[in-house]
Symmetry: C2
Subunit: 196 residues, 2 copies
């Protein structure tokens, strides 16, 4: 990696300007590397996970959910925020079980993505899950989710046609196709599915 | 598309709870399709564009920029928010010129992505640009950006190794590889580069 010192911004002061039920907004005064100052407003986020769940027959488990800010239903891989103090793998197992009912025997981490780097500290860690067993779902209050089993080829076709727009889901598809093509390796670990 | 009425949430009331220099946060009370009520907090965003700029020799134009919320430098395709009333293609041409100095003769739209559907109405429209000619950059105050010319294979290697985490850039790479493989078509239009 090249020398990055000439790009780095330094905090001068920081203020919480809004704290809601879900969103916290901070406004920092920063020193620019060229000596000037500027303001930076951004969301504090606990981080999240997205899961690419693969059934034994190769189909994928997806969700249809109404996304109120967009006023539309999106097709997405299961995902959710980390609870306080929770590990990312624990969050991935919890979210998969709560939203879909599936527990997985094998897990592999494919890395992270940053979805709104200009105004949020959110990361989304990408997990693959296979060896799935179906159980009961436990949706949160106000959480309405349809499950959707789909082949990779169908998801690819939807993406090409503009009908798959969720960023973490497009990146899950990218990883899935690279892994299946033998290009981007995954390091699988076997867990006790009963704990999932 | 299946019937979606059982997923749709309806606005009961809406309030701006924070309006900063850059971020506006709304909090809406909503009616759930099952009859209950819930709150939804979200960011209002003008929308954005990301550009995949392809040089005549096949290399891509990327940027290295410090992303203050993440406290790290990210490798990204050029991108930026729409100005009020601005068309998406005009924004793509403006951002490419301002941030990189390049003007493009040919443009193609690859669709949109939603990067934070749970808490932002942001969309990012993905544009491809080729027939590039170099000119002067015009960075905003407080905007420090390194340019970086890179082959697709190098970008692919960085993504596989976890060193490319920006969502819009990963999705740009996905589209680029699909297009070059003849899988996802692009509809190119030729513009007058002097206007770019």
């Amino acid at each position: 990696m090249s020398d990055e010192r000439h790009l780095i911004e330094t905090k001068v002061s920081s203020e919480v300007v809004y704290r809601g039920h879900f969103l916290e907004v901070r406004k920092d005064q920063i020193a620019l590397p060229d000596g000037g100052q500027a303001g930076r407003e951004y969301i504090i986020h606990p981080g999240a996970v997205v899961i690419v769940p693969i059934l034994d027959d190769g189909r994928l488990v997806l969700e249809r959910q109404y996304r109120y800010p967009l006023q539309q239903v999106l097709l997405e891989f299961p995902a959710g925020k980390l609870d306080p103090g929770e590990s990312r793998l624990t969050a991935a197992r919890r979210e998969l079980a709560e939203e879909t009912g599936y527990r997985a025997r094998e897990w592999a981490c494919a890395g992270i993505l940053h979805n709104a780097a200009a105004y949020s500290d959110e990361f989304i860690e990408i997990w693959f899950a296979r060896g799935l067993e179906q159980g009961e779902r436990q949706l949160d209050h106000g959480e309405l989710i349809d499950l959707c089993l789909m082949q990779e080829e169908e998801l690819d076709r939807l993406a090409s046609a503009g009908a798959l727009t969720d960023a973490k889901t497009l990146i899950g598809l990218l990883w899935l196709q690279k892994w299946r093509a033998g290009r981007w390796p995954l390091d699988w670990q076997t867990l006790d599915a009963a704990q999932g």
